[in-house]
Symmetry: C2
Subunit: 414 residues, 2 copies
């Protein structure tokens, strides 16, 4: 043990003093598991099963189509959007829940390109979460004269020029956990007359976010990571109020119409962010996401951010104190202001180590070729969780347990 | 009573002899309600609550990310698509479940236009379900030189020409219930070198469909109507096998990638219909749709179609025998081969009549300005349901019950 690594009593006292400690009971965490993968799939809130059952049995089963009015189904996209707004520094009327992250990215990226007709480039980061690059290329392919240019994150602010229509960046990198300077890069984009679109999938619900404070134009994000909405939960999108009347969705479906139930042949976009809705909202999935958002009740973003940083500090200290000698490299920045809420470490045998760790009850995940990700969810990850995870990881390495051939077998989905 | 209208004993004997009669018990129909709106939102299958609860509690809650492999989450879009295939006359590898109907329409319409670069027109029917026209215009707006041309359905086959890239039609019209000649119009499109895209939202699960028999190119459809997938259920799309390698999705998200978990920067479309996936599949909603598809187990399409036609015949006979004298006009074609599985009747006071009927336990719906729709779902609508609905509608009219001012109040969602 080194002086940087507290003993278990110390971290238990931190949990006892944690203002968010009570939130852990809001989740149905599997017994005996330390779940450090909420950055991939948030844990199940205890209230969700009953909430979804109510949507299924009473709302759908008994009230059927009357539920569109009676149970506020038609308002769900805006109602849930307004719940997400305070977590990302937006106004309630700037956020709406709809579709998937990928579909929402297409909508906003195409709208942004159309709003900058004299500029040809979508500027992005190589190695971004792949769907972002794939979708950006899909938009460029469909809009003649547009192309995607990738520049490493560190050089992106300097690369924004008069030909940049929109800058697309993920705020917290899915693999490295590095967090970009939202205020600085947004300002650089605006100085060059470009729009900016932030992907908040690995940020929302766990890290400091102030979209309006940073004058962000557009953002998208995921409902099933830190927002605890369940596997494949509906995603969200943000459009700054000042842009809402000038941008239009390429996916001009009926739910984004000003008067969808007039059933007219001519499309007239809804005022405000609702114009970025497309098809019928997925009500059962929305009910689960609404329950996920309830887990934030009574918390403040400042509390979430402070705890996320302390959890990360502890995890990094533990890795450095107890694991680095086994060949791990810290991928995630050590500076809490430059990282998100997961910590990635690289090791040539990261896959096997990840499996060995899971066998000891610590669930993180692997990202090819050599990264082990450990996610820290301020609502339910305890300081003791982190301490125990480090202890088990150290044991896996000290004992060489990861060398068991059983851990080498690869799953279809990693 | 006229000679065309059987007495209750007779229709009860039809139910007793109905090979699909036992399927009704698969649904949790509200007690005391005759539900004739399965064409808008299918009724709740009895098994769905437990199925969804399992997806929430055991799969998500306990097995968490391991469920992507362990519970076949990653295969859900293809697995459910294969279940839909026999209902629409497709091969299992030609159908996939994803996104909403509107989003799927955008994907396939844009792909079709790109596949016919020398042709400028999307040919559609005026008065089609609005989202189809809105989305078609959205595609045209994004693809320079493309436009949407609308021609009444009766003239559409003759209007297809060398400039038609794709013909977009809804097979059964949402408002009139009229069913178009899929074989004839598809052949006309192909003779002119155009592609065809059928919207099956008001067809799949209730009417005769043979996509491959008709050599259809592309189709989309809804999961929450006759497929009983729940409010806002994921939708499906069909791409004929011969076209799968030549068309590409404009919404090139990671789930349509050949190797999504390689996390590479370059997009490479999956072989086959899976390339039309975009974002992460909505697992909880998929579990409900899978349960909806289970309600078709042990039935044949021929049984469904035969019962749908007989239900429609009975309903039309009842309206003509007992209601037409109150000023109703039959909107839906009388010919069972020219109509879908709902019957629409027009009346200047259709809104109030619809509300008065709901007050008497018969749930249909209203479509502006003057249409009352009554949906017939072969899996759970009984002949007695139809008889009783006609009886109550006749009573509402005979007694003038619809004149109660309470029935004039309009809901937000109609």
């Amino acid at each position: 043990m080194t002086t940087n690594w507290p003993d278990l009593d110390a971290v238990q006292s931190w949990d006892a003093a944690d203002p968010l400690a009570a939130c852990r009971a809001r989740f149905a965490l599997p017994v005996g598991t330390i779940y450090l993968d909420g950055n991939s799939l948030g844990a199940l809130p205890r209230a969700t099963a009953a909430r979804v059952a109510d949507a299924v049995t009473r709302q759908w089963g008994t009230d059927l189509i009357a539920s569109w009015n009676k149970h506020g189904w038609i308002e769900a996209p805006a109602r849930l959007g307004a719940r997400i707004a305070p977590l990302i520094g937006a106004s309630p009327d700037e956020v709406i829940v709809a579709d998937s992250t990928s579909v929402n990215l297409f909508k906003l990226l195409a709208a942004a390109c159309a709003a900058r007709p004299d500029r040809s480039t979508i500027l992005a980061e190589p190695g971004n979460f792949p769907t972002d690059l794939y979708v950006a290329n899909g938009v460029a392919k469909m809009m003649p004269g547009r192309s995607v240019r990738t520049v490493p994150a560190a050089q992106i602010a300097a690369a924004i020029d008069q030909d940049t229509a929109v800058v697309l960046l993920t705020h917290v990198h899915y693999k490295t956990g590095a967090m970009l300077d939202m205020a600085g890069i947004t300002a650089a984009a605006h100085r060059a007359g470009a729009l900016i679109l932030w992907d908040l999938s690995h940020s929302a619900g766990a890290v400091e976010l102030d979209l309006n404070g940073c004058s962000v134009d557009l953002a998208i994000g995921c409902g099933y990571k830190y927002l605890n909405g369940g596997p494949g939960a509906p995603a969200f999108l943000f459009v700054a109020r000042a842009l809402q009347q000038t941008l239009s969705s390429p996916l001009s479906g009926w739910m984004g119409h000003a008067a969808p139930f007039d059933f007219g042949d001519e499309y007239a976009p809804a005022p405000g962010v609702r114009r970025f809705l497309c098809g019928t909202p997925p009500i059962l999935a929305m009910s689960a996401l609404e329950s996920g958002l309830d887990t934030f009740d009574g918390t403040t973003l400042a509390q979430l951010v402070a705890k996320s940083r302390r959890l990360g500090d502890l995890l990094i200290a533990g890795i450095e104190a107890r694991c680095v000698r086994h060949g791990f490299t810290l991928v995630t920045p050590r500076d809490p202001l430059a990282r998100g809420s997961h910590v990635s470490i690289a090791h040539p045998h990261a896959w096997e180590i990840c499996q060995a760790l899971i066998a000891r009850g610590v669930v993180g995940d692997f990202r090819a070729p050599d990264v082990l990700r450990l996610g820290l969810t301020p609502l339910y990850t305890s300081f003791e969780d982190v301490w125990q995870a480090v202890d088990r990881l150290a044991a896996v390495m000290d004992e060489g347990a990861w060398r068991d051939p059983a851990f080498a077998e690869r799953a279809a989905v990693t």
